[in-house]
């Protein structure tokens, strides 16, 4: 007799071997490095804020069957071009950032369209193609920034340009213009703007529905508006105002709020299920969520963790953007277009015979990915505060892809959960590796090389395992057809 539990556990380990290995590595290097949580956590959350958007931008092409998009470098390039222009024109702050978005969106759409076109002509070799395209675009980017700007297009700006007037300087300091442009938006502003926007949209919808003589569906409109209005109203209470006027949220507070909201919401769900709808059975999902949040809250009572978590200041709007993207991607995958992408990703032949325009769908996936990557690079750079003109974009693809894979994603399957877990694990190791290397081998350099090796190694491993498995499957298929048709009796 086989033990199903043991099989399950074994299967779980086999499926998540990279992730588990990484957890072990992270714990090991945490112990070895001798660093404290109050060093690790703030670093980790800073890096999470910088990289999450970039990693999440990889998801759509994976689903659409284009594999890991090594071409997100090109999205980053679009972002950097827009930053250069905005800095050159002297804009700054949140408005400057919005201008960056306005410039880099069409650029990224154009680039994404071009890459999509290119990838359609090299189906099956998109990943190596994407890598080479990244290098190729880096060449064009250097040509633009080192030779054309100043050399062909005269630019008179000694802070940005190399002293000879030809070519852009190695680093562009964003301190006085774009640094923290997104991070420094206060909660109050966010709530106010959100309230007005939602209110405006609601009014427009209401008018639209009256004109079209559709049902008014006021309750659906009020759903998002009411909590926002409550929050907005609360901001007039002086104590709440001072709290909401800040731009950073301490992690402990964030956890407390999240725990409170989650517990309340899930209790509401349970009550609705049991008391109003009278559904049978134990509401496992809801209880699990409550348990998880309570556990998370309990962690804040560990003194060490409390200190560490008090040291983490989350930039509110940035994290809201990341959260919104985390919600957007599953929502998008459940639309018609998303379903088309899944179909194309699974089997191009079936998709085509079902009347789906395969090439077009793939191009759209690339455009979405490139645009998101460019936003990701904007978020990352506004937090870092300096643009390494010739370096910032280079390793973007490598680290984002490695992080995604560490979370348990593969070439043809990736979820937001895996992305989030992957970023946390990968960057934990990234922060700890130099210290661990120094403590273990007396050489911080070894730790640094080790993390680069890990990034490449994880990708190589994932690619090899994917190729390995898909080959095995192909060989098996005919057998299955034969045995299956004979072994399984018809009926039921």
């Amino acid at each position: 007799m086989k033990n199903p539990l043991r099989e399950n556990v074994g299967g779980f380990f086999a499926r998540n071997n990279v992730t588990i290995l990484f957890i072990v590595l992270c714990i090991g290097s945490y112990i070895a490095s001798g660093t404290s949580m109050s060093y690790l956590l703030p670093e980790l959350f800073t890096r999470f804020g910088r990289n999450a958007f970039l990693v999440l931008s990889l998801l759509v092409p994976v689903v659409a069957g284009l594999g890991l998009n090594f071409g997100i470098v090109i999205g980053a390039v679009a972002a950097q071009i827009s930053i250069f222009l905005v800095v050159l024109w002297g804009f700054s702050g949140f408005g400057g950032l919005m201008l960056c978005v306005a410039i880099c969106t069409p650029l990224a759409i154009l680039f994404g369209w071009l890459i999509g076109k290119l990838f359609n002509s090299m189906k099956g070799t998109e990943m190596i193609g994407g890598l080479v395209t990244g290098y190729f675009s880096d060449g064009l980017y250097q040509l633009l920034f080192l030779v054309i700007l100043g050399g062909v297009i005269p630019i008179n700006n000694p802070t940005l340009m190399i002293s000879t007037g030809v070519g852009v300087k190695n680093t562009i300091n964003l301190k006085d213009n774009l640094k923290y442009a997104l991070d420094d938006v206060s909660m109050l502003t966010v709530i106010r703007v959100a309230f007005y926007v939602v209110a405006a949209v609601s009014v427009i919808l209401l008018i639209f529905r009256i004109v079209k003589k559709q049902g008014l569906k006021i309750s659906s409109l009020l759903k998002p508006l009411v909590p926002l209005a409550i929050l907005y109203g609360a901001s007039f209470i002086p104590a709440a105002k001072t709290f909401l006027d800040t731009t950073r949220l301490v992690l402990v507070t964030a956890v407390e709020i999240a725990a409170l909201v989650t517990v309340a919401y899930n209790l509401y769900l349970i009550i609705r299920k049991k008391a109003i709808n009278k559904e049978p059975g134990v509401p496992k999902k809801e209880l699990a969520r409550i348990g998880l949040m309570v556990a998370l809250y309990a962690v804040t009572w560990i003194p060490q963790m409390y200190d560490a978590m008090m040291a983490v200041h989350l930039p509110v709007l940035t994290y809201l953007c990341i959260g919104a993207l985390c919600l957007f991607i599953p929502w998008f995958m459940d639309t018609k277009l998303g379903q088309n992408m899944r179909t194309v990703g699974q089997d191009r032949g079936v998709a085509a015979s079902a009347g789906i325009n395969v090439d077009r769908t793939r191009i759209i996936a690339m455009i979405i990915s490139t645009v998101l990557a460019s936003y990701g690079q904007l978020i990352s750079l506004q937090n870092i505060g300096t643009l390494q003109t010739y370096g910032s974009h280079n390793q973007v693809g490598l680290y984002a892809i490695a992080a995604l894979l560490v979370g348990g994603a593969s070439v043809n399957k990736a979820t937001t959960k895996q992305a989030v877990l992957g970023i946390l694990l990968f960057h934990t190791l990234f922060i700890l590796a130099p210290n661990a290397g120094k403590a273990l081998l007396g050489n911080a350099q070894i730790g640094e090389y080790f993390r680069v090796f890990v990034a490449y190694g994880v990708i190589a491993l994932a690619l090899a395992m994917h190729a390995w498995n898909s080959k095995g499957k192909k060989r098996k298929a005919p057998n299955e057809v034969e045995d299956g048709s004979m072994a399984i009796p018809f009926g039921l």
């Binding site: 057998n479 057809v481 048709s485």
Partner: protein, 531 residues
């Protein structure tokens, strides 16, 4: 008002180049009728369906003559998508399903139900949200219609193979106004009980007024469910009849029947063939070749014999030589001139005096980018280490010997080319096939296996190759196994012909056996009777 006919084919003719594949084909299908199209491979069934669906193959080769009418109106579809939109559905032999999707998602593929969202109002319909509830409901309804009790939430990957066909059918009938359904060999991969279930489903659908075109070679099934049967042979409809007016033997005869034109003079049959020693002894051979599975074939072939293996495509005849040559996993005993072949040892058959001309000329038989001479000599170089010359401590290919031999072969087999250095890929099909034969002959085999030697080549080359096979047997005593779908050719040069059906030998016939015997053996009816 309901039209009298759903589908009308009127005087349809089609040729690929000089090759006339459909000659003045006319038939029509009424609503609620199961109309069977039977015929051998190459009779023109698939070309007919390609025309119906407006496949690009047809448009790219100059279209067709005659009319296709759907519900009385002329239809000339630009693409299969247009055909589907017009209400024609196809149930494929291979499953067009996505294993990772649920049954409902597969049924609704490309036609998902959606509800509008805020984003879809701004950016267009593609951002509408999937209405999974509606999709599941429709899927359930379609499955109920065909009497299948499958959970629509289950992923297709977890379904037994026999169910997949039904998911495909459900997908077709879920389409809004499906008028005509084409079943292309739907029972090929099903077990008997599953096939019986499928036939019942077809009848249910027909009862709802959907017209059905049923393409198959299983005559038994045809007799059971079809209202009318059209027999297609060499691109012509030779007869259209009702099952009650005929019987299975007659249909089989019509399917095969034609005069045997002796293409080649084979009067010099060696004496005492039936007492000659056994050259090839095959015992319970199983071969796992996708699409051509062999399930237990036993044969004895005598020295100096030309032995034919016939049968319809997909029945396993091709699997036999490929298994012997070790190209696909095989189990069983094969002895060649008393020596047992070890399947685990790559190329063992080659080393034991067997040469093979593959049915897949361009894929397996030739290196298309290489020259004629290299193709001819390669096997002998690899297997027998011939055509080499000493160069210091090593041996290199001897261009001189290779050239000499290639020139001989070109003359012997009349290969039309600009010279031995011409690229094989640029030769015509017939001349490519001659190169394949030359390459096999270069091995000086005792047993030559030729698989589909005349597929897709012109009549002159066909004749020459057949003549050469006969000559080889007479002059050099080579034993020959010829695997072919072309019954005429098998019957014109073989001494005995084994007909393979469903992976096993249905019957071994003499070339002058009656047509009906061949027809029945091929359609599987005989195998059942024997069992």
């Amino acid at each position: 008002m309901e039209p009298e006919y759903i589908l009308q084919m009127e005087h349809v003719s089609k040729s690929y180049g000089d090759n006339l594949v459909l000659k003045d084909v006319s038939f029509n299908v009424k609503p609620g009728e199961i109309f069977a199209l039977v015929g051998e491979n190459g009779a023109g069934k698939s070309t007919l369906m390609n025309i119906l669906f407006g496949m690009s193959v047809i448009h790219n080769t100059g279209g067709f003559e005659g009319d296709v009418k759907l519900c009385g109106e002329k239809a000339n579809f630009a693409s299969p998508n247009d055909a589907m939109k017009a209400g024609i559905g196809m149930v494929h032999q291979e499953f067009m399903l996505i294993p990772g999707f649920t049954v409902a998602e597969n049924i609704k593929i490309g036609r998902e139900d959606t509800t509008p969202t805020l984003a879809s109002r701004v950016f267009g319909k593609t951002l509408e949200k999937l209405d999974r509830e509606q999709m599941n409901k429709d899927a359930k309804k379609a499955l109920d219609t065909i009497g299948m009790n499958i959970d629509e939430h289950v992923k297709v990957a977890g379904l037994p193979v026999g169910y997949m066909q039904f998911v495909e059918i459900a997908r077709e009938i879920d389409k809004a106004d499906i008028k005509l359904l084409v079943f292309d060999e739907p029972t090929a991969v099903l077990t008997e009980t599953e096939a019986a279930r499928l036939l019942k489903v077809m009848q249910t659908l027909a009862a709802k007024g959907i017209a059905i075109v049923f393409i198959t070679h299983r005559l038994g099934e045809v007799m059971d469910v079809a209202q009318r049967i059209a027999v297609l042979r060499d691109g012509e409809v030779v007869s259209t009849m009702k099952p009650e007016d005929t019987d299975i033997v007659k249909v089989a005869q019509l399917m095969v029947g034609r005069k045997i034109e002796k293409m080649v003079d084979d009067s010099q049959v060696p004496e005492n063939l039936d007492t000659a020693p056994v050259a090839v002894h095959i015992n319970k051979l199983y071969v796992d070749m996708p699409g051509e599975v062999v399930k237990g074939v036993s044969l004895d072939i005598r020295e100096g014999e030309i032995f034919g293996i016939g049968g319809l495509a997909g029945q396993g005849k091709i699997g036999i030589p490929n298994g012997i040559m070790g190209l696909f996993p095989a189990v069983g005993d094969v002895e060649i001139f008393g020596q047992k072949i070890a399947f685990s040892k790559l190329g063992d058959a080659l080393h034991k005096g067997v040469a093979f001309v593959s049915e897949d000329r361009r894929g397996v038989g030739l290196l298309l980018d290489e020259s004629i001479e290299d193709n001819i000599a390669f096997n002998a170089v690899a297997v027998k280490k011939e055509y080499l010359t000493n160069f210091g401590l090593t041996k290199l290919l001897s261009r001189k010997k290779i050239r000499e031999h290639a020139l001989n072969m070109i003359k012997l087999l009349d290969i039309r080319c600009t010279g031995p250095a011409q690229r094989v890929g640029s030769l015509s099909g017939g001349n490519q096939q001659k190169v394949c034969l030359a390459s096999a002959l270069t091995l000086h085999p005792r047993l030559l296996i030729v698989s589909e030697p005349t597929r897709g080549i012109d009549i002159g080359a066909k004749k020459l190759i057949m003549e050469h096979l006969v000559k080889l047997r007479c002059e050099e005593g080579v034993t020959i196994i010829m695997v072919s779908s072309e019954l005429v050719e098998l019957r014109s040069i073989c001494d005995r012909i084994a007909i393979v059906s469903d992976g096993a030998v249905a019957e071994i016939l003499l070339p002058d056996a009656p047509d009906a015997d061949f027809g029945l053996a091929m359609s599987g009816a005989r195998a059942k009777g024997v069992r």
